[in-house]
């Protein structure tokens, strides 16, 4: 089934020069395995198309059940020259949580709801 990430994961983002810097966290190990499979650089690039001008970087961290995601060239040159309200990219994580992936319906967080 199609599942938006906000139902099964949490995320925080911030800025590093002209990069949006995101952490995506599974609430449990079963969900982490799904995130590792479904949240790929290609899908991230498609989801954020238009926001970033550079490469998408992605690191899985098994010890934290987390994915580290960096969007290069996503902040109009950097927070202090950006024209956006969200100049620091603090809401890029919320934008990520709107991404939908294929996931089994028996993930623990889905059963809670």
């Amino acid at each position: 089934m199609r599942v938006p990430l906000w139902k099964i994961a949490h995320a925080r983002s911030g800025d590093k020069a002209d990069r949006a810097d995101i952490g995506l966290f599974a609430y449990d190990a079963q969900t982490y395995a799904v995130l590792r499979r479904e949240v790929t650089r290609e899908r991230l690039a498609a989801h954020f198309a238009g926001l970033h001008t550079g490469a998408v970087e992605l690191w899985p961290l098994d010890n934290l059940l987390a994915l580290k995601i960096v969007l290069n060239g996503a902040l109009q040159g950097g927070a202090a020259r950006s024209l956006r309200m969200d100049n620091l990219g603090k809401n890029v994580a919320a934008r990520l949580l709107r991404m939908e992936i294929d996931a089994p319906g028996d993930l623990p967080r889905l059963k809670l709801r």
Partner: protein, 460 residues
């Protein structure tokens, strides 16, 4: 077994210091590590400095340091708590003098250290002559393209001068630009006598410093989530995180009893990965941390055990961050109520575009967003709600090299109140031009900077 407790101070210039009181009174801390400098705070301090009048006490430091210490020092002194702050900004000596004046007026004494030598703005030619090109780290661009527009240029120093200041008896250490986490690593290296090539222990200290450097974000603040944020207890009295550290670098992360917030696996891992880029090579002046072997054991009751830090040798270079003037931003904001709230904002944006075009203003970039619809979510806003909004605000910004154009842009908007679409709610004031800043990261051989680092101690 000896343990040392370090408590988080501020996470930015302007953050609240009241939560630090609980960490001192009930959290058993021996040190407060307080981070007052974001990537570009030094630009604000440089402008303060340019406004100094002859005869006035010099500025160039973050002005929150003196009132913060006036409020907290009697309590801190009673509990034997020391402060390490990067509030010195561009002028740690001026910060110390201001603090000394305030302390003397109250009859208080403290040994205050300053750490200087991070500023390289006056040394750029010397560094270039020594073979450092100082090209942009990400783009490779030549420094010459921004050289005459630079406002500041500072190297990130490490924890060694902080440890030295503490070893020499400092009770308050005021630094300029240091790596944020060095504010915590310095006290730990000093207390435990960690060697500066003991990479795993230094990596542990760096980890803990990073967990503490954003104040409430290490204890449940800004917990990025749908729904779960609402379960964080008592935001109004959120306690800042505290690390109780052992000599081997392992630690218990917690907060003062009776405070709000939450220290858990979830809140801590969000802070661990915050703004770190490559988690397997988190570079600091003192050590390179690999977060891949860290272990967080959530013991419940706002206690998380942190172990397993692995470090690699420190880099041969230090990072410089410089800031340069990069034009001006003009901003206009105007709001409308139902009916057709969004459509009236969009129409207003069209009208303003026409006015700008007819005036022939030199505008490099225009950005249009709708507060209440897409100003934070951008292209990920849900278009299904767009035409049903109860109310909506247009926020329109331009980038221009001409300050007068940026100022005039904001003044276009109030006119819409009588001559534009109906049911209008303007903002209270016209937004003045704001200077935009570009950021210039570069690398420099560390010995060229470290040779100039100076630690001074004086009693107030």
């Amino acid at each position: 077994m000896k343990t040392i407790r370090v408590g988080a101070g501020l996470g930015f210039y302007g953050d609240a210091w009241q939560p630090i009181r609980a960490s001192i009174e009930r959290g058993g801390v021996q040190y407060i590590a307080s981070d007052h400098l974001s990537e570009l705070t030094l630009a604000i301090l440089q402008k303060d400095r340019q406004r100094d009048k002859p005869g006035d006490p010099p500025s160039g430091y973050t002005r929150d340091a003196v009132p913060m210490l006036l409020e907290l020092w009697p309590l801190a002194a009673k509990h034997g708590v020391k402060f390490v702050l990067n509030a010195g900004g561009l002028n740690p000596q001026a910060a110390r003098e201001a603090l000394a004046r305030a302390f003397r007026a109250r009859g208080w004494t403290a040994k205050v250290a300053t750490v200087t030598g991070d500023s390289v703005l006056e040394r750029l030619d010397e560094l270039r002559a020594a073979g450092e090109a100082l090209t942009h780290m990400d783009t490779g661009a030549d420094l010459a393209s921004v050289r005459d527009r630079l406002l500041f240029a500072n190297a990130y120093l490490g924890a060694q001068p902080i440890a030295e200041a503490l070893a020499r008896g400092a009770e308050i250490v005021l630094t300029g630009r240091v790596a944020d986490a060095a504010l915590t690593l310095g006290p730990l290296a000093h207390e435990f006598g960690w060697r500066w090539d003991d990479w795993d222990r230094l990596a542990a200290g760096l980890t803990l410093g990073h967990l503490l450097e954003c104040s409430g974000q290490g204890s449940g603040g800004n917990f990025g989530s749908a729904g779960e944020w609402a379960a964080i207890p008592d935001y109004a009295h959120l306690g800042y995180p505290i690390a109780e550290v052992s000599a081997d670098g392992s630690a218990l992360l917690t907060k003062a009893p009776g405070t709000g917030g939450r220290v858990s696996f979830d809140t801590l891992r969000q802070q661990l990965l915050y703004e770190v880029h490559d988690p397997h090579a988190y570079v600091s002046p003192d050590v390179v941390l690999d977060m891949g072997s860290l272990k967080f054991d959530d013991l419940g009751g706002d206690r998380v055990r942190v172990t397993g830090a692995r470090g690699a040798a420190r880099p041969a270079s230090l990072k410089i961050v410089a800031g340069y003037q990069d034009g001006w931003m003009g901003t206009g904001i105007i709001g409308f109520a139902w009916p057709e709230a969004y459509a009236k904002c969009a129409k207003s944006a069209d009208i303003i575009r026409t006015l700008v075009r007819e005036r022939g203003w030199a505008v490099e970039d225009t950005h249009v967003e709708y507060i209440g619809y897409d100003s934070l979510l951008g292209a990920h806003a849900d278009p299904a709600v767009r035409d049903q909004l109860n109310e909506c605000f247009l926020r329109m910004t331009i980038r221009t090299q001409d300050r007068k154009v940026a100022d005039a842009f904001g003044r276009l908007f109030p006119w819409l109140g009588l001559s534009g679409p109906p049911y209008v709610g303007t903002m209270q004031a016209v937004q003045p031009a704001r200077e935009l800043l570009g950021i210039w990261p570069a690398l420099v051989r560390r010995e060229l900077v470290e040779g100039k680092v100076n630690v001074e101690i004086e009693s107030t």
